[in-house]
């Protein structure tokens, strides 16, 4: 299982701050596709992904037990 954390507009649109996935996708790209299809999220094209609090690339692998976060373009400051 992997945990996916949602923030900002993604949290509001989906109505949840955590999604738990039983079937683990292989790559970050596949994870984003699965989330877009299954959880009625808006396009994640401009959204970065972190794995265990480090930014990940599209082709990085996700494994069971990872904590993943969807990171829309940041706007702090």
């Amino acid at each position: 299982m992997i945990k996916v954390l949602l923030f900002a507009h993604l949290q509001e649109v989906s109505g949840r701050s955590i999604i738990e996935l039983d079937s683990v996708p292989r790559t970050v790209r596949e994870l984003k596709e699965q989330l877009e299809e299954s959880y009625s999220l808006p396009s994640l094209r401009g959204t970065l992904v972190s794995i265990n609090e480090e930014f990940a690339r599209q082709e990085d692998f996700v494994k069971s037990g990872d904590v993943v976060a969807l990171i829309p373009p940041v706007s702090g400051g």
Partner: protein, 141 residues
């Protein structure tokens, strides 16, 4: 809420003097502070308040990386950053960056660099509540 010695995400007013104390030292001849505050008017639209949200543990990690970059680019500098989350009213302080260095040029440059990097890499988001409605910034623009 989330705290490293020099980097902090908090849900109450930032204590300015506390941030300054973290970088003040006898080797420094300059101390630059940047304070990001809640602005009322943006492109002719009136803001009522802002809400900030952070991915706390990762935000601290990314701020520490900025600190590493700053110390590498400007040796001898010390840097501390505090960012507030939650609901903020006009004029309130959202972020404080404090940099000390032996000479002033480095502290000015490093302070600007740090706030620019924070706006690029640190997972913090703001929601604007304006006279036109409310919107998370970044995600939809």
């Amino acid at each position: 809420m989330w705290l490293d010695h020099l980097f902090e995400i908090c849900d109450e007013s930032i204590c300015l003097s506390h941030v300054i104390e973290k970088v003040a030292c006898s080797e420094a001849g300059a101390l630059t502070v940047f304070i990001g505050t809640v602005r009322e008017w943006t492109a002719g639209i009136r803001t009522h308040c802002l809400e900030y949200q952070a991915y706390g543990p990762m935000a601290i990690k990314e701020m520490k990386k900025i600190g590493d970059e700053v110390r590498l680019k400007w040796p001898g500098t010390k840097i501390a950053i505090s960012h507030r989350i939650g609901l903020l009213q006009l004029k309130e302080e959202a972020v404080v960056v404090a940099v000390s260095s032996p000479h002033r040029k480095a502290s000015f440059e490093a302070c600007e660099y740090a706030i620019d990097r924070l706006k690029e890499t640190v997972p913090i988001w703001k929601k604007e509540y304006t006279e036109k409605g409310s919107e998370w910034i970044g995600g939809t623009r």
